[in-house]
């Protein structure tokens, strides 16, 4: 018995998608030696820019089916003369620890020359009842389009990835605007991917003596690379910076200076935020200082999946290595699908990051 079974991809007319899926489910049940389970906990609509992105999404959806079996509607939207084609497939995985196959279904739609209004019109009839509807912007930020906003508003959740957003400020604004009561829960894959870094960093302040210095922190330094695609700061550095200053209760940022090392901001009370671009990765380290009394530093070694944590309180310095269990892209997607509402910490971190970015861009 193979570990994964695909029925193959069958071209189908839009109107016959449900019928063809029913036939494939029947085939799947008849062909499987093990019993097949059809469980669907959500409808996932993925909007992709090209076929490569759609292919990656398809693999990820299949990979997370064990935790989030879904009906996936993968839409590749490209410019051109209006045209639409669709195919369907059922994919089953053998669960190693049970003699059982877990199956999920995928509907692939290639839409040319369609605006969001029309995309929404053929997607919505395919949405399953009574389970959450998740819209995933795969490989792009949120487009500034009222039709897209209307589509997003009928969804329970919207997944995006700040790391792929070309205009971070615009996406920040969209997320903060969409995250109103009654709106979809926005989940940022970049934020989910940063959880291991946040967890490792947080361990610096588990000992009570270190926690006592939190109100006295007066400088925060974030080390990252300099993004090459025109962005001033990496999404990772912005989000982690926004999170830390929010946790510290800092606000009222103003631009201080920019030099060859990076950008320097001042917060209310004369506190210093330094964004240094001297690293090779989008987030290599974070350092906090409390005058001359104490300092706390986390350096992330992603290759070794380890964070070196250094605490200095007075003359006493302690170093420890913490696990930095980085998530694969599939694990990040899996983690993102756990959220049923916007992470309030993310919303606050984003608001702070937005304030920081506003100062940098001016």
């Amino acid at each position: 018995m193979p570990e994964s079974v695909e029925t193959g991809s069958y071209p189908v007319q839009l109107a016959d998608i449900e019928g063809q899926l029913s036939r494939l489910w029947g085939q799947s049940v008849r062909s499987g030696g093990s019993s097949s389970a059809r469980t669907v906990v959500l409808t996932l609509v993925a909007l992709c820019r090209d076929s490569a992105s759609a292919s990656a999404v398809s693999k990820s959806v299949a990979a997370v089916a064990a935790d989030h079996p879904s009906r996936a509607i993968i839409v590749t939207s490209q410019p051109g003369e209006p045209d639409i084609s669709a195919s369907v497939s059922v994919s089953c995985q053998l669960l190693g620890h049970l003699d059982r196959r877990l199956c999920s279904e995928q509907i692939h739609i290639e839409a040319r020359g369609m605006d969001f209004e029309r995309i929404g019109s053929f997607v919505q009839p395919l949405v399953l009842p009574d389970v959450p509807l998740v819209l995933w912007l795969a490989g792009s930020g949120a487009p500034a389009d009222p039709a897209f906003d209307r589509l997003a508003q009928v969804c329970d959740r919207v997944l995006l990835d700040m790391r792929t957003a070309r205009e971070a400020a615009a996406v920040f604004d969209w997320v903060l605007g969409a995250s109103q009561p009654g709106g979809p829960a926005v989940v940022d894959l970049a934020w989910v991917a940063l959880a291991p870094h946040r967890l490792a960093f947080a361990q610096l302040f588990d000992p009570e003596p270190s926690r006592a210095f939190v109100p006295r922190i007066d400088s925060v330094t974030i080390r990252s690379n300099r993004p090459g695609d025109g962005a001033r700061v990496s999404a990772e550095a912005l989000l982690i910076g926004g999170w830390i200053v929010n946790r510290l209760g800092w606000g009222g940022f103003s631009f201080a200076r920019e030099d060859s090392a990076g950008v320097h901001l001042t917060a209310l009370g004369g506190r210093q935020l330094h964004l240094l671009f001297d690293a090779a990765s989008p987030l290599s380290g974070v350092a906090l200082g409390a005058g001359a009394e104490a300092s706390f530093e986390a350096n992330f070694d992603e290759e070794r999946q380890e964070a070196l944590l250094t605490s200095r309180v007075g003359a006493q310095t302690s170093e420890t290595a913490a696990r930095l269990t980085l998530h694969t892209a599939d694990q990040v997607l899996c983690g993102a699908l756990e959220f049923s509402e916007i992470d309030p910490l993310y919303a606050r971190a984003l608001a702070s990051a937005s304030a920081i970015l506003a100062q940098i861009q001016t």
């Binding site: 946790r247 209760g249 309180v313």
Partner: protein
């Protein structure tokens, strides 16, 4: 305002359940439990990032092992017993630095002083409090010595850090010995620092009983004497004593499984909604159920309880010996390998609803489940004249294996005639949640390090459970092999077990 009592950077992280830096001291570190369960569970927690930022694991036992030998031995244990280990040997090297060993007999006061120094060294080296969890993985006969020495050496005192103790089941061998042990524990550790572990409670599906009952509105209104005819709780093992003959022959199935696992399932099934999910609120409701179980005595006990012992038979296609031919079992042993009981919970909710319990070894298959049989509908509409008998609805919560929930109900068969058919609607954890559940010991070790007591038995809970089974044990001890029924290995217990329900016009569910 920042709350300095909490780490502001921990808020909202998926890993909210973070333990403070601490030392985990395992008494009986060279034993099977440490090797098979505890170290693999601690390593798995480490791999998941759930260990404290700074921790030490200190083995304490008689054998003359060095730190390095202890680490090497535990490395092989992880390779053998942990599925997460093979691809994580790099992580093991970092994890293993936290392991050390103190060689001492459990009665040697000097060993405890060296342990105290080891904890102090860990604390000083890392700038953390002297927090410690003491895990009693020794034979129960050593509990008193270890607890006494922890008290005498000052290791139980919360001087510069918290101190907790985890005690493996069984807690006592009867009500009197359990009370004696609990009294001994109480003299050294207050109840708020005592964690009586029954790994069964660490299973996801056991915890899910409360979620299923109290997070869904459709079941609870039916969960009472008005709609439930009776409840069956089955804890069946297909194996025999499996090398534990000497232990099992002293204990028997009631002490081994009914007094703890099975009565836990009964309490979770029968309890009232707690006021919160706090440890004491949940445990208080469980204790109320145990206290409401009608005590068995005299003729009532004889009628309501069946015990059996397996004879030679077949299991999984192989011939297997009878209990009396198992290694380390007395040839004239009167120890029960099967027990069934009819218990009544005398409270408002369950008045008149029997709870049938059966537990045994060398039964046809390994299965643990709770089955609620609902009262049958009046046979007016589809009774006489219609094909197939009217059968009541069954709601089954399967604990292991293939955890899930099923509901049996009646529907019409397709066709021109009014034929009725039983069908099952099933939910399988494995289908909806493909990822395997975490090991019970991982959850429980983490809870103890965090200070969460919900999944550990409280002193009065243990006492109330012994109150139920003590009369059975006393009666059997008095009568030896008299009244001990035999059953063929591979059968569902002795015939008297069937009679127990037949007398009430019921029968065991085929599981």
């Amino acid at each position: 305002m920042l709350n300095l009592a909490e780490n502001p950077f921990r808020e909202g992280l998926t890993v909210e359940r973070a333990a403070e830096p601490c030392a985990v001291v395992i008494f009986g570190a060279t034993g099977d439990l440490t090797r098979r369960k505890l170290i693999p569970a601690l390593f798995s927690l480490y791999l998941q990032g759930l260990s404290p930022a700074k921790f030490a694991i200190i083995g304490f036992a008689r054998r003359p092992w060095s730190d390095d030998y202890f680490r090497e031995h535990m490395r092989s244990a992880v390779l053998e017993h942990s599925s997460a280990s093979a691809s994580n040997l790099g992580a093991w090297e970092t994890f293993a630095r936290s392991l050390s060993y103190v060689q001492s007999s459990f009665g040697d006061a000097d060993g405890y002083l060296r342990l105290k120094e080891r904890i102090a060294e860990f604390s000083a080296a890392n700038g953390v409090p002297r927090n410690a969890v003491f895990y009693l993985a020794t034979p129960p006969s050593e509990y008193a010595a270890v607890i006494g020495n922890l008290g005498a050496s000052g290791l139980a005192d919360e001087d510069g850090g918290w101190r907790r103790i985890i005690i493996e089941k069984p807690v006592g061998t009867d009500r009197a010995s359990a009370r004696e042990l609990n009294s001994h524990v109480r003299g050294v550790f207050p109840e708020s620092r005592v964690y009586r572990i029954d790994h069964f409670l660490g299973k996801e599906t056991v915890q899910n009983i409360l979620v299923f009952r109290f997070a869904n509105s459709i079941f609870e209104p039916l969960w009472n004497t008005k709609y439930v005819d009776h409840v069956q709780i089955t804890v069946a093992e297909s194996v025999g004593v499996e090398g534990r003959g000497a232990f099992f022959d002293r204990a028997g199935i009631v002490r081994d499984l009914m007094q703890n696992h099975q009565l836990q399932l009964l309490t979770l099934t029968a309890m009232e909604p707690p006021s919160s999910v706090d440890a004491d609120a949940v445990r208080a409701e469980k204790v109320k159920v145990l206290q409401a179980v009608r005590p068995l005595s005299g003729e009532d006990l004889v009628k309501s309880v069946v015990r059996g012992q397996y004879a030679a038979g077949s299991s999984q296609g192989a011939h297997v010996p009878g209990y009396l031919d198992e290694p380390d079992v007395a040839p004239d042993s009167g120890t029960e390998t099967f027990a069934a009981a009819r218990l009544m919970v005398d409270n408002w909710r369950w008045a008149g609803v029997p709870f049938y319990l059966r537990v045994g070894k060398r039964l046809p298959k390994k299965v643990t489940e709770i089955c609620l049989q609902f009262k049958a509908v009046p046979g007016i509409l589809f009774g006489a004249g219609h094909r197939r008998e009217m059968t009541p609805n069954l709601l089954v919560m399967r604990i292991q294996p293939d955890e899930g929930i099923s509901l049996r109900f009646t529907c019409k068969e397709p066709g021109p005639s009014m034929s009725l058919q039983q069908v099952r609607m099933e939910f399988h954890y494995g289908a909806s949640f493909g990822a395997p559940s975490p090991e019970a010991y991982e959850r429980l070790l983490l809870d103890a390090a965090i200070g969460e007591q919900s999944l550990f038995a409280r002193e009065d809970e243990v006492d109330a459970a012994w109150r139920i089974v003590d009369p059975m044990l006393a009666h059997w001890a008095e009568h030896g092999r008299e009244g001990l029924s035999s059953y063929r290995a591979g059968a569902w217990g002795p015939a008297e077990s069937l009679d127990l329900l037949r007398r009430d016009g019921r029968r065991w569910r085929r599981v």
